[in-house]
Structure formats: structure tokens, C-alpha cells
């Protein structure tokens, strides 16, 4: 095998989206029979890279050679024909079809153009499931009836139903509990023994240590290290590769002593929880204070924000603004009480893309410019102009369509909305997503200034430096629970990444037992006790929790 060319070799892959260069000359080599791990922070370009590989995105530049031949998969089907299968994080199964039908979706056994129902498909599916160590899954059952872990198996069976030589797995363990992860690793082992290559994406260093052969680290759309030995590269080195930034963020200076340090908190959250999403959280934000929630995607941060805001209904706990309890699950009550949300998906959740800046800014305060429902458009325009000018939104033209604005200015339009409304607590979810690096500094300054003017800010970001640079106080989250709270100046990026990646040093010592019962609804206990908790490997509450509601989407 040694003299053969690599199974897959990607060189200089470049891919831009409007406003972002997602991939900037990435190289990736994968050998047959190896587990090649892809590591990187959120937004580093992992997803884009595997989508290029899967034929879902076309690269702007770069070459892809497959078994020595140059190819360009133009579509997912083309990639599949080559023998490249991808198992996405959000499983792409059709719930209303049976296991066998899902497995053969897109290449159903046919006779004279008709799909053959019955035994052939079912028996071949059964063979695949057996190979995957799950003979108990009935090929005839509807996928919608299966728990998350079994769906994953079905997804994998689908990949294997093709003549596959490379399987890409995007965070396959995210929805699994520890025993199921073990089974997953056994399958990965079997596959590689058969000469199939696996590209494995995970945030969990510990998993990469267990099954990985080599590691490629992505950062800001570049491969900062390729083909490192997965088992022996020191954790510190990997973390440094993931974080070591070339671009310096410029953060506004935070006041030496937080303004209104003694003031009563505006926002108080007590025991707020949503079953299956996050464990009870306590937090409070004072006027003039920026509190940051750090953690990876899927750690429950956005969910917390949206629950505070009333966009999701909590299963326990309460939110107080100025001491008054908010009606749970009511956005209108939250807005009336003075909360404002700049959501993660700006275009989908905040902006009216067909409308002007003015209308986007005034949408939450319309009644203020209206008498008997009749809008005073001059007053509206004036107020919107004042709010957008205060944030130096560019262009300085309130009638411009919000669609034509850059990401940073779109975000300012959302902030202006709440400024105009006179909100007192600002909830920011990934405020700089899709915002140009240059424009970020300006946005940071705006956020800090709003806080200085007395707003309470609760900030969520998966970019650790952003949280550390902007926030006064930081809560670190992992898998639905707060594992650490500290003033931002007492933390650094490595420490936070250690915390969010399951305390990698502790984990590698006892890999099997370290995963705490992640999705249980227990107390808001910190991560530390879990390492020494003998119950952890077979959690009482772990089975129904992780099994039933993993991919709730």
C-alpha cells in the first residue's frame, strides 16, 4: 500500500461566500484505511471543506485528486459515485420512510423503472445493519420511530450501501451517549480495517486521541497543520494551533471598575432550564455590565438566550427584569420589559430583508410613531436616522434596503432597533457572525459603548477571544451546563478551550468514564465532580435522555 498515492488529496482549496473567505488554500491528504481527524473552532472552515468534498459546494480554486486522478465532484451524487459518502451532523433521513427505504434512497433497486419493494432491499439492508453491529434494527421500521443513535446507524448503513472508500463523519458522537460512542468507534475500526478511510470531525480531543491516526487543524479557513500524529501531539500544541490567531482583535478598553458595580442587577435568571437543551442556569447582569457565555455550538448557549427572551418556553426556572418576573415563553412580555435580542441568524431571525433600514429599525417601536394606528412617517424616519447615526451605520441612508448592507451594518440595524425601543437588556447571539474582521472592532466598540451608557449586555459567542475581550464576566458552558464562572480578566483562551472541550487533560486519563451524563437534567453541578464520579460510565438517567431527544430538530 505504501507506494500508492493518497486516496484523496485536496490542494489549495479555496471557497468564498459573500463577505467571507471560508476556505483559503486548504490542503488535505487522506490515506486509505486511516482515520483522519479535522479539528478547528467554529467557523474555521471544517463544514465548508467537507461540503466541497461531498460535492455540495464547488470550490473557487484548488485541485482534488481521488485515487491519483483529478476530479471535481459537481454534485453530492457525483461524489457518492466516486465512493465518497458523508454523514452530516444533522442527519438527512426521511422520517416517514422505512429504514430500508432510507438506506436505498436515491438508488432504489428498480425493475422496469419501478421501485422494487420487499425482500431484496430489506435483506441487503439487514446485511449492512449486521455489519454495523445493529442487527436488531428492523429494516421495515419507520426511521421516525428510531432513537437518535439508531438513526445514526441507518445513516451509516446508507453510506455503506454505496461502494464507499471514504466516509466523512461530521461530529457523529454529538448525539450519542457513551456506550453508543463505543460502538461507533468499533464500527470506525472495522471500516478502516477494510481499507475504508474516515474523515472524522469532532470537538472532543479525547475521541480524536482514541481513534484518530492523523490530525489536520483548520483555522480561519486555512490548514495550519496537516497530518499531525493524532495520538502523540500534545494537547497544548493542538489548542495553540486552533487558537493562535494571525489577526489581532481590537477590543475597547473595559472600565477598571465596572460601572454601577453595586447596582442591583437588571436581569436575573434563576434555575432556568429546558429539558434536553440546558441544565438549570443562574445568572445576573447589572446595568453597564457585559456578561459573556462561552462554549461550543450545541452547548446550549443560544437556547439559553432565546429562553430568557421568551422565544422558547422554559421547563423550569424564571427570568426577572428589575425584580419583576417575566411571563415565561412570551417574547412580547420580554420586549415590553425591556429585553432586546440580536439573534444568531440575523437574516432569518431578525431582518426583514425586503424592507428598508428604517422599517427594520422601527419595527419594534412602531406604535410610538403611530396615532390610532396611523404612522407618522416623518417622525419614524427621524428617529430611525438618529438611532442609526448613533451607531454610525453605513451608508447613512435610512431608506436603503437592508439587503444591500454589509453584515456588520446589518447587525447595527438590529442594534439600532433595540436602541430606538429603549431596551435595557441586550441579548447578543454571535454578534459578529458574518461580519468582516475589520468591521468587528467597530461593532465591539459599539457594544461596549452601549454598556457604558447603562445597558446590561448578555453576550453569546463561540469565538472565545471575543467573549474574553468584550465581556466583564464569563460563564463557560459545556453540553448544556455552566461549568465555570469567572471575571474575564482571570481567564485566557487556553483555559476556556480546555473547559469547553471537556477538560482534555483529565479526559485522556480515563476516556471511557469521563463523559458525564451529558444530557441529564440534574443539578447545575460543575464538571469537576464528574471525573471522579463512578456512576458516570453508566448513568441512570443517561439512556432515555440522550437516546430520545438527541436530534430534536
Amino acid at each position: 500500500m505504501a507506494p500508492e498515492p493518497p486516496l484523496l488529496s485536496m490542494t489549495g482549496i479555496t471557497k468564498s461566500f459573500p463577505g467571507v473567505r471560508a476556505l483559503d488554500g486548504v490542503d488535505l491528504d487522506v490515506q486509505a484505511g486511516e482515520v483522519h481527524c479535522l479539528l478547528g473552532q467554529n467557523g474555521a472552515g471544517k463544514s465548508t471543506l467537507i461540503k466541497v468534498l461531498a460535492g455540495a459546494h464547488q470550490p473557487d480554486d484548488g485541485r482534488l485528486s481521488w485515487r491519483g486522478e483529478q476530479v471535481t465532484p459537481r454534485s453530492p451524487i457525483a461524489a457518492m459515485r466516486l465512493g465518497i459518502a458523508t454523514i452530516y451532523q444533522e442527519l438527512d433521513l426521511v422520517e416517514h420512510l422505512s429504514v430500508a427505504e432510507n438506506v436505498h434512497l436515491g438508488h432504489e433497486p428498480t425493475a422496469a423503472g419501478f421501485v422494487v419493494r420487499g425482500k431484496a432491499a430489506k435483506s441487503s439492508t439487514a446485511v449492512l445493519l449486521k455489519r454495523l453491529g445493529h442487527p436488531e434494527i428492523e429494516p421495515g421500521r419507520l426511521v421516525g420511530e428510531l432513537p437518535a443513535a439508531q438513526r445514526q446507524i441507518v445513516s451509516m448503513a446508507r453510506a455503506l450501501s454505496h461502494d464507499v472508500r471514504l466516509i466523512v463523519m461530521d461530529e457523529p458522537s454529538a448525539a450519542l451517549d457513551p456506550e453508543e460512542v463505543d460502538n461507533l468507534f468499533r464500527i470506525v475500526g472495522d471500516l478502516t480495517a477494510d481499507g475504508v478511510a474516515v474523515v472524522y470531525i469532532s470537538h472532543r480531543l479525547e475521541e480524536i486521541r482514541r481513534i484518530g491516526d492523523r490530525v489536520t487543524v483548520l483555522k480561519d479557513g486555512r490548514a495550519v497543520a496537516g497530518g499531525l500524529p493524532a495520538k502523540s501531539t500534545p494537547t497544548r500544541e493542538i489548542v495553540a494551533l486552533m487558537t493562535g490567531r494571525n489577526v489581532e482583535y481590537v477590543f475597547p478598553e473595559r472600565p477598571a471598575t465596572p460601572r454601577d458595580a453595586g447596582a442591583a442587577p437588571v436581569l436575573e435568571v434563576q434555575g432556568l432550564a429546558r429539558e434536553g437543551e440546558f441544565a438549570p442556569v443562574d445568572l445576573s447582569v447589572r446595568p453597564g455590565e457585559i456578561v459573556g457565555l462561552a462554549g461550543l455550538v450545541g452547548s446550549g448557549r443560544s437556547e439559553i438566550l432565546e429562553t430568557i427572551y421568551g422565544a422558547r418556553k422554559p421547563t423550569a426556572g424564571q427570568v426577572r427584569v428589575d425584580g419583576a418576573v417575566l411571563r415565561p415563553g412570551s417574547v412580547r412580555a420580554a420586549v415590553r420589559a425591556g429585553l432586546g435580542l440580536a439573534p444568531e441568524e440575523r437574516k432569518a431571525q431578525a431582518l426583514l430583508m425586503l424592507e428598508s433600514v428604517t422599517r427594520n429599525v422601527s419595527v419594534s417601536s412602531m406604535s410610538r410613531f403611530a396615532r390610532g394606528g396611523w404612522i407618522d412617517r416623518a417622525a419614524e424616519l427621524g428617529a430611525a436616522r438618529a438611532a442609526t447615526r448613533e451607531l454610525s451605520l453605513r451608508p447613512d441612508n435610512p431608506s436603503a434596503s437592508v439587503r444591500t448592507l454589509s453584515g456588520g451594518n446589518q447587525q447595527k440595524a438590529v442594534l439600532a432597533r433595540w436602541l430606538l425601543r429603549g431596551c435595557r437588556v441586550l441579548l447578543l447571539d454571535e454578534p459578529t457572525r458574518g461580519v468582516d474582521v475589520g468591521a468587528r472592532a467597530e461593532l465591539y466598540a459599539v457594544i461596549r459603548r452601549l454598556a457604558d451608557e447603562g445597558l446590561a449586555v448578555l453576550l453569546v459567542s463561540s469565538e472565545v477571544p471575543e467573549v474574553l475581550g468584550l465581556a466583564d464576566r464569563v460563564l463557560v458552558m459545556r453540553e448544556g451546563r455552566v461549568v465555570h464562572t469567572a471575571p474575564a480578566r482571570e481567564l485566557d483562551e487556553h483555559r476556556v478551550l480546555d473547559l469547553v472541550m471537556e477538560g482534555a487533560t483529565v479526559a485522556s486519563a480515563s476516556p471511557a468514564a469521563d463523559s458525564p451524563p451529558t444530557r441529564t437534567i440534574g443539578g447545575p453541578a460543575a464538571g469537576k465532580p464528574a471525573a471522579s464520579n463512578p456512576v458516570a460510565s453508566n448513568p441512570v438517567a443517561g439512556k432515555p435522555a440522550a437516546g430520545e431527544r438527541g436530534p430534536a430538530s
Partner: protein, 339 residues
């Protein structure tokens, strides 16, 4: 500023210079192009009518007839435009018109005279709209299904009330309004109602918080919700509004025909939707104009009139209407993609 050590990334994110942005002027111009093209189509149709049947078509009486016929479906279309703007659909408008018209013309209702007929027609329309709205906004039903169910049951109820018979109106004050010479300032009374509904519809859509909320819900319901708009209540109101328009249309139809029939308003839903689409209303919501919808109605009614004058059968009319819908949407797609 930042100190990039690595090569700076593409700054495609930067805002383009202010000069290239669509100002309100270009926006108006763009809307005007849409409106102007509709007016152009209407002018072309009038030319065709004038050339093929110069005497009949351009006769004042005929033109008044066209406008009168447009009035009934026009009022329905104004309500429909609001619903479609919000991302919904109302398939039950024709059936509601039928039910309102027969309920308002029963012997029992007619005992209460003019006011009784008007009041009943409007009330039945609003009540049906309320049911639609509650099912959709608070019952979580898809608008298509909820209004389809209303379509079926309202038609059934209308048939049950009349038993298939035509209910003749015997009240003179109602019949007088339908007379050809019942003009106010030279305008047939029905057309006047249509004009008033159009103006009010335009004002509500463009100048009130209600209109803004409608557009916001249709443009991005999730964003509207997170901005603090009560999306469900707005949806309820919108179907109420559509029901109200149906009630008014039913009254106009009673005036026009001097009777109430369970077959009234047949396929109004399709005509109203088609008129709104031709007028530039986005079926997915968030964009549309009252003026466009009204022009759409006028175009349709004019076609029907010209075809009737030229003794072309209704099957040809239907085919022509279908072709116009396709053409209008294709043209709009092109103009939308070039902007």
C-alpha cells in the same frame, strides 16, 4: 484599526458607496415600472377592444359595466392581497361570498330591510373570517387547509339555506342601487364602493401599523415574532379582514343581481389570487401592492368583456387568463432578478 499579520481578506463585506444604493427614488421608479407595465397591458387590451369592437367596447355603458363587474371581485382581491402579503392564502372567499349573499337574502333577513341585508352580509363574512383566523392563528392549521375546509362547508351551508333556489330581493332601496343609472357623481354605486375599499386598503397597507405588521409577518414571520410583534393576532385580523371584504362583495353582488344564490362567487378565490399575483404580490408574502392587485382585476375583467363582445367562448377566456398569469410571473421574475 486592526493589525492583520496575514494578508487581509477580501473586503467584499464592505458597503458599496452610497451612490449605488437604491434610494427611495429608484425604489419608486422600480415600483412604477411594475405598475406601468400593468397599465401598459391594460392599455393594450383597451386598444384591442377598441379595434375589434369599436362601437360596443368603447360605449360608456360598456365601460361602466366592466368597472361594475370588476368591483365585486375587486373588493375580494383587496382582502386577498393582505392575506397573501402576510404569507397566507384564503381559498374560501368565493364560498364566503356565496354564503353571505344567500344568508342576507333569506325571507327572514329581508324583513329587516336594507340594513338587515347589509348587516347580515358583512357579519356572515366576518364570522367566516373569524373561524378561518382562529383555526390558522391559534389552531395551528395551514391556511391552505383551513380555508379549503371553509370553502367546502360554506358552500354546503349556502346550498342548504337556499335548497338550490334563487332568492329574489324584494326591497326597492337595494334594487335601486343596482340600477344602471344609480350613479354618484357619474360613477356607478358599486364602482364607488370598490374605489373606497381600494383607497382604504392602500392607506391601511402603506400608512398604518397594521399594514406594517402584515408586511413584517409575511416577509419574515420569525423575525417579526422576535421583534415583539404578535404574529398570531395579526394573522387572525388578516383573515377577519378578508372575510369582511367578502361580506362587502356579497352585498355588492346582491345589489348587482337583485338576488342571492348559492352558486355566487364561483371560483372567486382563483380570480382573486390570480389578480394579486399578476399585480406583483409575492405568493410567499412580504411584497405586494394594492394598486397592482386592482390593475390585475381590471385586466381580467377587461379580457372577459372583450372576449364576450367578440363571441369567444369562456374556454378561450380561461386559456387566455392562464397564459397571462404565466407571462406576468415570468416577467416579474426577470425584473426581480435584474435588480
Amino acid at each position: 484599526m486592526t493589525q492583520p499579520v496575514s494578508p487581509p481578506r477580501d473586503s467584499t463585506d464592505q458597503a458599496p458607496p452610497a451612490g449605488q444604493l437604491p434610494s427611495w427614488r429608484t425604489k419608486v421608479a422600480r415600483a412604477d415600472i411594475r405598475t406601468l407595465s400593468l397599465l401598459g397591458v391594460l392599455a393594450a387590451l383597451i386598444a384591442v377592444g377598441g379595434i375589434t369592437k369599436p362601437d360596443e367596447f368603447l360605449d360608456t355603458r360598456n365601460l361602466q359595466l366592466v368597472l361594475t363587474q370588476a368591483s365585486v371581485i375587486g373588493v375580494v382581491t383587496v382582502g386577498m392581497t393582505f392575506v397573501i402579503m402576510s404569507g397566507g392564502i384564503d381559498l374560501s372567499v368565493g364560498a364566503i361570498v356565496a354564503l353571505s349573499s344567500v344568508w342576507a337574502t333569506t325571507v327572514a333577513t329581508q324583513e329587516y330591510g336594507f340594513a338587515g341585508i347589509l348587516f347580515t352580509a358583512v357579519l356572515v363574512g366576518v364570522a367566516c373570517g373569524l373561524v378561518n383566523g382562529l383555526l390558522i392563528a391559534y389552531g395551528g392549521m395551514v391556511p391552505f387547509i383551513a380555508t379549503l375546509a371553509m370553502l367546502a362547508s360554506a358552500r354546503g351551508l349556502a346550498l342548504q339555506i337556499t335548497d338550490g333556489a334563487t332568492q329574489i330581493v324584494t326591497i326597492d332601496s337595494v334594487l335601486d342601487l343596482g340600477e344602471r343609472d344609480a350613479y354618484v357623481l357619474g360613477i356607478p354605486s358599486l364602482v364607488l364602493v370598490f374605489a373606497v375599499v381600494t383607497v382604504i386598503g392602500w392607506l391601511v397597507l402603506n400608512r398604518t401599523t397594521f399594514g406594517r405588521r402584515t408586511v413584517a409577518v409575511g416577509g419574515n414571520a420569525e423575525a417579526a415574532r422576535l421583534a415583539g410583534i404578535d404574529v398570531r393576532r395579526q394573522r387572525l385580523y388578516l383573515y377577519l379582514l378578508s372575510g369582511l371584504c367578502c361580506g362587502i362583495a356579497a352585498f355588492l353582488l346582491i345589489i348587482l343581481s337583485g338576488s342571492g344564490q348559492n352558486t355566487n362567487g364561483n371560483l372567486y378565490e382563483l380570480d382573486a389570487i390570480a389578480a394579486a399575483i399578476i399585480g406583483g404580490t409575492l405568493l410567499s408574502g412580504g411584497r405586494g401592492t394594492i394598486v397592482g392587485s386592482v390593475l390585475g382585476v381590471l385586466i381580467f375583467t377587461t379580457i372577459t368583456n372583450i372576449f364576450a363582445l367578440n363571441n369567444l367562448q369562456s374556454d378561450v377566456q380561461q386559456i387566455a387568463k392562464g397564459a397571462i398569469i404565466v407571462a406576468a410571473v415570468l416577467v416579474q421574475r426577470r425584473t426581480a432578478s435584474t435588480t
